[in-house]
Symmetry: C2
Subunit: 254 residues, 2 copies
DNA sequence: GTTGAACCTGACGCCGCGTGAGGCGCTACC
DNA sequence: GGTAGCGCCTCACGCGGCGTCAGGTTCAAC
């Protein structure tokens, strides 16, 4: 009595796979049917025996656990792997990828929130927000970011909304002073340094670590949040001299 | 005054990308350098201007958020996308993938635990455990699985360890009765039906839904946990007749 | 002028199939 | 016994984002 067999289409329907997938498994030698029709001279239809179906079932199971086809093949060959070890390694890998995705999810969530807070969401705003996010993640430690978030709540949204304008005004004033040849030791320059220091303090909350990270960022990057930091450097040096002249000490200094 | 430029290697070092990646971005037209050396007749070295670097920076940022190169290109072309919408869609996608991975992680964890419980972890045990897991996930709802887990705690591990042997003994006895031509209505057959019923009840805890799922599984699958269910069917029909004769009602029956 | 490092182009590989194109095999009905 | 038509066959490209040779050119320094 001839053995019961199935053709690709039937097997595909039963297992939920596609015919193409079965062809693929055959092509890579993972599961080749034990028989074929028309054994004469040409390639006949694939005929899968019960044993083939059983193997396919195992393949499907291992794939559902996220194993690659090559791993499935190795595993079904019984090449002396310790099942527990394999599962644990695989689990570790899955967890790592899950953690990465979770991380990405958190970034996207905070971006979403940041975009909700912004009034106009132009593509420019979008790109600048993203760049700022990437930047802060590059220079601030997670604890520092947590502190900055708390700090933002303390000072309130109005103060944050006012900040860009205050900075723009200050930049303009500093540039004017420099262009006018005002000496950094001049009281007017010292006043500008005080305003600068206050704005930075409003942001950092006086935290020395955050202050340091902020400075490192401005020293290493050429653009921050769409601003040309490189072009700001002379201004910063000028204000730095004025700060020393005014006797203002920044956080963490001595 | 000629503009400041960077070569691929310098840019790669600064951005953390590889030279190949920059070549790729050039090849697909995502970021082509504004200038090249040796403008004569041959292909000279790529020279990236500050504007190119800025664009690259944006590309890197968008990629860190998990966007594909094609999406990045579309997005930088400003083809009228709503940033918030794009972010939300992308976030939804990321969450979906994270959920899938989490699901996979849970499956692997319970597999890990199951393997820890098993004494000998041969490849066969491994494959059977997996097949059983896939099977139960196919036939039982999550709530049913939770009940089964609680049920397993109630009866304790010793009872679970004893079950396979009890089933094997019962199968042998039933087969012997059938081979001996014992009528299903015979008291001896009815006694076998009672043993069968008790074993099933120990597993299902008398839950009608679980009972039904279990029966559906045995009706639709040809192999369960390495057992040849198809070959068991005559036995099951025999026991079913004996059950009716013994007046035992299964859960959910009227 | 020569060396050596950095650059160039072109091409294949990966992973797990999807998606055709173009042509036989099998079955059922007339 | 012919033929319609569906299911099967092989072959081959495509995807995403580069890694990784191979074999040649260009640049900067000495």
């Amino acid at each position: 009595m001839p053995e019961a067999t199935w053709k690709v289409g039937e097997l595909a329907a039963r297992t939920g796979l596609t015919v193409r997938t079965l062809h693929h498994y055959d092509a890579i030698g993972l599961l080749s049917p034990s028989a074929r029709t028309g054994s004469a001279h040409q390639a006949g239809h694939r005929l899968y025996t019960a044993a083939d179906v059983a193997r396919l079932h195992q393949i499907v199971c291992l794939r559902q656990l996220g194993f690659g086809l090559e791993q499935v093949r190795e595993y079904l060959s019984r090449a002396g792997y310790d099942p527990r070890e394999v599962v644990r390694l695989h689990l570790a890998d899955v967890r790592r990828r899950a953690a990465e995705l979770a991380d990405l999810g958190r970034r996207l969530e905070s971006l979403d929130e940041a975009l909700d807070r912004a009034d106009a969401v132009s593509p420019d705003t979008f790109l600048q927000t993203i760049e700022a996010m990437v930047m802060v993640e590059k220079y601030y430690t997670p604890e520092q970011l947590k502190r900055l978030e708390e700090r933002a709540k303390e000072v309130g949204p109005e103060a944050i909304d006012r900040a860009p304008q205050q900075w723009a005004d200050l930049h303009a004033d500093v540039r004017a002073a420099m262009d006018a040849g005002v000496d950094p030791a001049d009281p007017r320059a010292q006043e500008l340094a005080r305003r600068w220091f206050d704005l930075v303090s409003a942001f950092t909350g006086g935290d020395p670590g955050i202050f340091k990270s902020l400075r490192t960022m401005y020293e290493n990057e050429d653009t921050v949040a769409g601003m040309d930091v490189a072009a700001m450097r002379p201004m910063m040096e000028y204000v730095e001299k004025a700060r020393v002249a005014a006797g203002i000490r920044h956080p963490g200094e001595n």
